[in-house]
């Protein structure tokens, strides 16, 4: 069983605190993605788990064993790096077999393990090439092969897809997910791309400025963000946020004079005069006749379209509510010209309210 446990883990760089005492329990076989903007401490956390960075304070344990001061080689982990980190002077075969070679495994055993990994990742044709002769995607596969060859307890991925072009990235994402289904090991995966986090993770750990902001399944983070940061980080396009003030108990006056009712989830949680941010996703603001038919409270708005981004199955419409630019989605799109005025439906059940001071979600 290989759970990974972080308890009050802190990282200092000199005086600068990069990671602020985080707690995290990762279960055996779980695919956990650490996500956040650059500089949020996600890579540092991963590297502390790997043993590439000293742990300033707190405790990291892998499979129930405290590993704080153990060098990487005694942690039985493997890692895929952002720049692949292939050994340039070795062939693909040597790269794959290297960890077993330094562990002084039998020649035949190494060959078997290498061939097996090559089979899983489809590297058989490339075995005698050097990294310099491989394409980006091939290098990425070799890096992954190198990680699986030694059957580690835990896989660590440090932004493994960020150097690939968009198409290849999608393809490799699928391969990583398949790999996880095949080998079933615990995976800790770091990325700054929320799409990768959403598509890959069993659980997402969203970090900001060295703190964990929210931990949960992709849908939990998408549907119930704990604060405006999560709301605008997860999901594409980001959640629309409009400043407003609560008036009475069930109305929010938006900055430009528009009134919306307080969404059901937040009713009874707000006080008169409270400054809030009113949030909703583009998927929940749709033009009449181009929306998904759904039950629930709706508000009708007439808005002027300022810009359109046709994506084929849908078009993202840019418009303006109360002086704030917001995005809406049009399903089964028809051509829309900038300046056109459309009737929109806002799904009030799917709206969120955040406290303007603390940025935290107000939810029952």
């Amino acid at each position: 069983m290989t759970e990974v446990n972080l308890s009050k883990v802190v990282k200092f760089y000199g005086k600068h605190r990069a990671v602020h005492g985080i707690d995290l329990a990762i279960h055996d076989g779980e695919f956990v993605v650490l996500v956040g903007p650059s500089g949020c401490g996600k890579s540092t956390t991963l590297r502390m788990i790997a043993g590439l960075e000293d742990i300033s304070d707190g405790e990291v344990s892998i499979g129930g064993r405290v590993v704080n001061d153990l060098p990487p080689r005694e942690r039985n982990i493997s890692m895929v790096f952002q720049n692949y980190a292939l050994y340039p002077h070795m062939t693909v075969r040597e790269n794959l077999g290297f960890s077993l070679k330094v562990a002084k495994k039998e020649e035949t055993e190494i060959e078997k393990a290498v061939d097996e990994a090559a089979g899983i990742l489809g590297l058989d044709e490339l075995m005698e090439r050097k990294p310099a002769e491989l394409s980006g995607g091939q290098r990425q596969r070799v890096a992954m092969g190198r990680a699986i060859v030694r059957h580690p307890d835990v896989f660590l991925f440090d932004e493994p897809l960020s150097n690939l072009d968009a198409k290849l990235r999608t393809q490799m994402r699928v391969e990583i997910k398949k790999l996880h289904q095949k080998v079933g090991n615990t995976i800790i995966y770091v990325t700054h791309d929320q799409v990768e986090a959403m598509t890959l993770a069993d659980r997402i750990v969203l970090m900001q400025d060295g703190y964990i902001v929210q931990v949960g399944t992709p849908l939990e983070l998408f549907n119930a963000p704990v604060n405006t940061f999560v709301a605008s980080f997860i999901g594409s396009p980001p959640m629309n946020l409009i400043d407003g003030t609560v008036s009475g108990t069930d109305t929010i006056k938006l900055a430009g004079g528009l009134d919306v009712p307080v969404p059901a989830a937040a009713r009874g949680q707000v006080t008169d005069g409270q400054k809030v941010q009113f949030g909703f996703r583009a998927d929940n603001l749709m033009p009449e006749g181009h929306a998904v038919q759904e039950e629930g409270e709706k508000a009708n708005l007439e808005l002027t379209v300022t810009l359109t981004e046709p994506l084929g199955t849908e078009t993202v419409l840019f418009t303006d509510i109360a002086g704030t630019e917001v995005q809406a989605k049009m399903l089964n799109p028809r051509p829309v010209r900038p300046g056109e005025v459309l009737k929109f439906r806002l799904m009030l059940d799917k709206c969120h309210v955040f406290d303007a001071n603390t940025t935290e979600a107000i939810r029952g």
Binding site: L52, M79, F98
Partner: protein, 297 residues
Amino acid sequence: MLRRRFPEWFVLLLPAIIVIAAVVLIPLIFSLYSSFTPYKLTRPSTLWTWVGTYNYEKILTDAKFWAAFGRTVLFLTIVLNLELVLGLGIALLMNKVTWGQRTLRTILMFPMMFSPILVGFQFKFIFNDNIGLVNNALQSMGFNVALPWLVDGKLAMFSIIFAEVWMSTSVFAILILAGLFAMPRDPLEAAKVDGCTPWQSFRHITLPFLMPFIFIAMTIRSLDVARAYDIVQIMTGGGPARRTELLWTLMSRTGYVDARMGLANAMGYVSILLSIVFTIYFFHKLSAARAQIGMGG
């Protein structure tokens, strides 16, 4: 006119070629010729007597020459290897330093600025058996000895090697350190995660990557191995009793003291050949290492 007849690159290279031809090539051709004559400075007419390969036969059958030749090769082998190992060690030490690295690196370059002749005098002074720093320190620590550093054959060789290594290890240390700085961190970390001990990481990852840098240092050093002449000339002059005689000191004595230029030039050719062999060998190694690490092109 010139431009029309020669390509641009040749015009650009021409001044270099002319100067080198005038100052190096022509004298070398002259010395090649004179190495086939019994030319003596004191009797200029001897320049016109052709003796064929007499000088070469003479040095090839001369035990003193072979002793100096063997000693030179041995000296170079010991010195270059020692410098490489020490330089590598120093570079690794420096790479781990977390504070004041710039200052330390500047100090490290110290010996590179010293004139070889100055290094010779400096160590002649320090190893002086009567007033030298080493013996004085030994005596002050209670050893009642006056080690004949430059008078005893073996100790003299040691002293010379020490001086040479002191002067030139920096070249290796600095270049290898530059290599360590240029080294991507990822493969090293991957190796750590792959289960390498520090020694295994060094052996399988760091060292192969440093090879081109090591060979650059070797090539640069092999270009001026003959600088050792200055040191030896000052510290022992090839003595005592030829125990530290190298090819270069033997050649210079034959030419300038005994005035036997023809013979000295023949030796000169052997020493040139030796230098060229070393240089080409390391150039060759350099491009091989470069290709291996995937830096070629």
